[in-house]
Amino acid sequence: MSAKGKGRSDPQAGPELRRQAEENARTDEATTEESLSPEETRRVLHELRVHQIELELQNEELRRAQEALELSRTRYFDLYDLAPVGYFTLSEEGLILEANLTAATLFGAVKSALVKQPLTRFIVHEDQDIYYRHRKQLFETGAPQAFELRMLRPNAPPFWARLETTTAQNGGSGAPGCRGVVSDITERKRAEEELRGKKKELEHLLYAISHDLKSPLVTIKTFLGYLEQDLARSDAGRVEKDWSYLRAASNKAERSLNEFLELSRIGRIQNSPVRVSFLELVDEVLSAVAGPIAKRGVEVNIGRKSVLLVGDRPLLEKIWQNLVENTVKFMGDQAAPRLELGVERRASETVFFVRDNGMGIDPRFQSRVFGLFQKADPKSEGMGLGLALVERIVKLYEGTIQLESEGLGRGACFRFTLPAAVENSREGEPS
């Protein structure tokens, strides 16, 4: 307590000041009291009262000013620091002079630690040029700049940021600098990326539609020409051939149209979701494709385990229907074709599988099987939309699908998940 009374800001200074004032007053009174006439004493007393009131008024004013200051400081904090965008002020050299709390949070640092740091410290190396280019433009032209780049924060992946900058006179010195706004646009960038993917897929689909409808049209028009010639020549053998090509082409066009319609229906689930067990669903699918199964003499085994599924039933059925049809189609020359359907727990996931001992698929082509219009066998029917359709339905239920095959003649196994359709993995299990 040795510093007591020395420092002006000492909170203990109040009583000490009071004591000193009283001391001074006493000596003052001692020297003046006897020399004052009663008239003078009254006058002095009046003076003192007026002075006291004056002081009180002054004090009141100070208190109000203090309150106003407090209020504007709170407002400043609210408007500047808590603004929903990051604000910062940079020196001409690009050092951060001031930044608000939002900017500090965005850069993953405390406010005070940002001061005097170059802004480039928070910019991804590859994107630094973007920043330098716009900074140069800003100081050369004075025109406000807006740009997007990737920024860094500790212990987190880089984030996409949008920066808007204007020139500014910094503080009282009037030194040139700039003011900037920064906001996190990672989510927007992700959505843009997704949109680009969808647009590309749509373009691909549109092109495929035009190709797959034009192709049978070329056949029809050309064979109509041949037919005309062959009829004129009365070449019965050729006429019969021409007819068969015409029939096949018109069937192909019809099938293409139907497949496209089916594909376009996916993505907008039309039937209200119902609860159905995996075993019941598979049972129904197998009776629908019983014809081809019996024709090829395929032995079908279904696992005993089941799960409950909730979703658009016809759409879910399409998954197994397409996979089973695909399997039966590609049994190759297998003398004892076998097909196995089931569901199992793998790690924490419910995984469905459709396994066969058919012709399998060359590992080189495995990545292409889910693509649109990718046919493994040029002689097979359809446009190769079956597996693309399956993949779309699986994606719709937030799942993934893989094809496993050790190669030609080694059989194949489709494994897939349907997280958004599997109700509760423990329900529906046989007790």
Partner: protein, 146 residues
Amino acid sequence: MRADPTVVLLVEDDPAHAEIVRRNFEGSRTSDRLIHVADGQAALDYLFRQAEFTNPEQSPRPDLILLDLCLPKVDGLEVIKTVKSDPGLGRIPLVVLTASASDADMAKAYSHHANSVLVKPVNFSQFVGLLETLSCYWLAWNEGSH
């Protein structure tokens, strides 16, 4: 005109379109032999004498390759790239014959050094005419394909 028989390799997955090309070459004197394969992998196997085409007697070098772009297994663009980057096969004229091609695919076909890209017309006489001109140009008039 030539002593050697002229061989054309047709890579086409649509049997009807293959038949159209076959009928046209049948009637013309420009080609003696049309070999048809139905997918990209078979085309590469033929050209590189792999798999079922190991016997050189069975797989004479073509004087012209007619190639569709939409092909199963290995697509047409991949076939062009592989063939055109092979010093021996690269000099064989390769003509893309497609029902329709996107601008990007056409650009890619040329950048992989396809000699020509043709779109199949939806018109009998035009298609027949195109095939006649095509075989005349590449097999009779064009020098350097041998």
